[in-house]
Symmetry: C2
Subunit: 302 residues, 2 copies
């Protein structure tokens, strides 16, 4: 089975389509599959979703840098989204036949290469981080491009690879490895925003809840309901079904029932399989019992 890794590089360009297209074309030319491109003018940022094996992605990310470093100048960049560099963040995500260790190794190899080739300082984050205080993307990015030169003078913010000060126009880049995120919302059969906020506070890690849940309560004004809007950052350790059941239990405390939930974007098959196995009480369930997995495992390497 070929090792399949996803990468979701974010570049600091969302207004000039020709620059984004040039970046996408450079990536495609390496043989990486481009699954999705989201260009956001307000954020002045684009998110590419790529898939490939390690060899392909090792070529694809530097190809992306070549375009972004040449065409994007952070000194001229304004947008709603915080950013540190022209290529702002590059996560690698294990999908099939690849482990987190493979993705950490890939992050290090790519980081070393782009630092050397483009003179851009690289910070490793999440599972690839070299220290606990550098795991969180938000912590690394705090201060943004404009505060980067000062920040990097502090020892704890020396880069993992590359020069000890920012690239003059391309800033710095954050590269790492993480689990696939699931953007998961639960809609409540009420218009009481306080209930959604209380539930969000109860279940998220930052205020004492589940380890891999980020959550906030929001109003869906046009529908007259409220929502617990979440990111699940490790569906193996904090599975979807446990989040759903906990939200349901908290909601019942306020006499509120769950209207529905929704997956925003994509969800790994394993996250759904684990939920099915839990609710159906399937004993000894294994991913090797999934027909498609067996078929793919039998395929010759591509």
């Amino acid at each position: 089975m070929p090792r399949l890794i996803e990468s979701v590089p974010n570049i600091s360009e969302g207004r000039r389509p020709e620059v984004v297209e040039a970046a996408v074309a450079a990536v495609r030319a390496t043989g990486a599959r481009v699954l999705d491109v989201q260009r956001d003018a307000d954020h002045n940022r684009s998110v590419l979703t790529l898939a490939g094996d390690e060899t392909t992605l090792r070529a694809a990310i530097p190809a992306l840098f070549a375009v972004a470093v040449e065409r994007i100048d952070l000194r001229q960049h304004k947008g709603a989204h915080p950013r540190l560099g022209a290529v702002d963040v590059v996560p690698f995500i294990p999908i099939e036949g690849a482990t987190m260790a493979d993705c950490v190794a890939l992050a290090r190899a790519v980081g070393e290469e782009v630092a050397a080739r483009f003179g851009v300082p690289v910070f490793l984050y999440e599972e690839a981080a070299s220290a606990a205080h550098r795991k969180n993307l938000e912590d690394i990015r705090r201060g943004e491009f404009e505060g980067l030169a000062d920040k990097m003078r502090r020892a704890e913010w020396a880069p993992d690879f590359g020069p000890s000060s920012p690239h003059v126009s391309a800033g710095a880049t954050v590269i790492g490895a993480r689990m696939a995120l699931i953007a998961y919302n639960i809609n409540l059969a009420t218009d009481r925003l306080d209930v959604a906020k209380k539930i969000a506070s109860a279940i998220r890690q930052s205020s004492g809840g589940l380890r891999y849940v980020k959550a906030m309560g929001v109003a869906l004004a046009d529908r007259g309901i409220v929502q617990v809007s979440m990111n699940l950052t490790n569906y193996e350790k904090t599975p979807v079904f446990r989040v759903f059941e906990l939200v349901k239990r908290e909601a019942s405390r306020y006499g509120v029932s769950i209207l529905e939930s929704e997956i925003v974007g994509l969800v790994p098959a394993a996250a759904l399989a684990a939920s099915a196995a839990w609710y159906l009480q399937i004993e000894g369930f294994s991913e090797k019992q999934v027909l498609e997995n067996v078929i793919r495992a039998s395929a010759l390497p591509q």
Copy 2:
């Protein structure tokens, strides 16, 4: 995306490994993937699980016939399992990018070819059946090889392809298209076999229950519990979660709770995804939201 079809041919040979190996080798030589081979000496029968596209399987099944018709003589064959022919039954099952209509067309094409090349009468069954009374494999196979010549003299048992009487040594073959089966058992926290039998009777189609459920109650004597043992023959129309919930409800009528359930063998990813989506109340869930599906859909045709 390449069209992926599964086929699970059953051949009437489970005692001579060299014959089964020759059959498997002939199939492999066509490029079909052999996912599994189960050889059963008591049944004197082997079950091959193959996967491939239409072109590959159109070559693989006749290659299997060439070996089986030459090496298997039903006049000498004894075994616990009912059988009609050397190649006894060949179902085609849509997996990915293939529809049931594709599988019906493939069953007809393969049936016509093997009837012409090997002189074996072919009965089409399940979704490929040419009449309602010929849908069920058990009905076609009733009377077995020994009763076949008499049976075929009746107009309603004329074959769909091939000669109007059995092949002298290879009998006849049943070829068709069906959904993937799920072998699904639910273990009850009781030793009362009557409860398992009552539940099986309540939920199976044959006695008034769910349309695509076959069920029986059995004792697991060594564990001191009982089991509702099921085949789910169409998981799209009678989904796993509905079967589980109905069994749970029926069991509660007798004060019995569910200990666990189990998947025997393989389960299609879509059956698990549908169960997860139902329990998690995911509104508007689509298979296109499954990360792996998007990645595969983006792959170039192989």
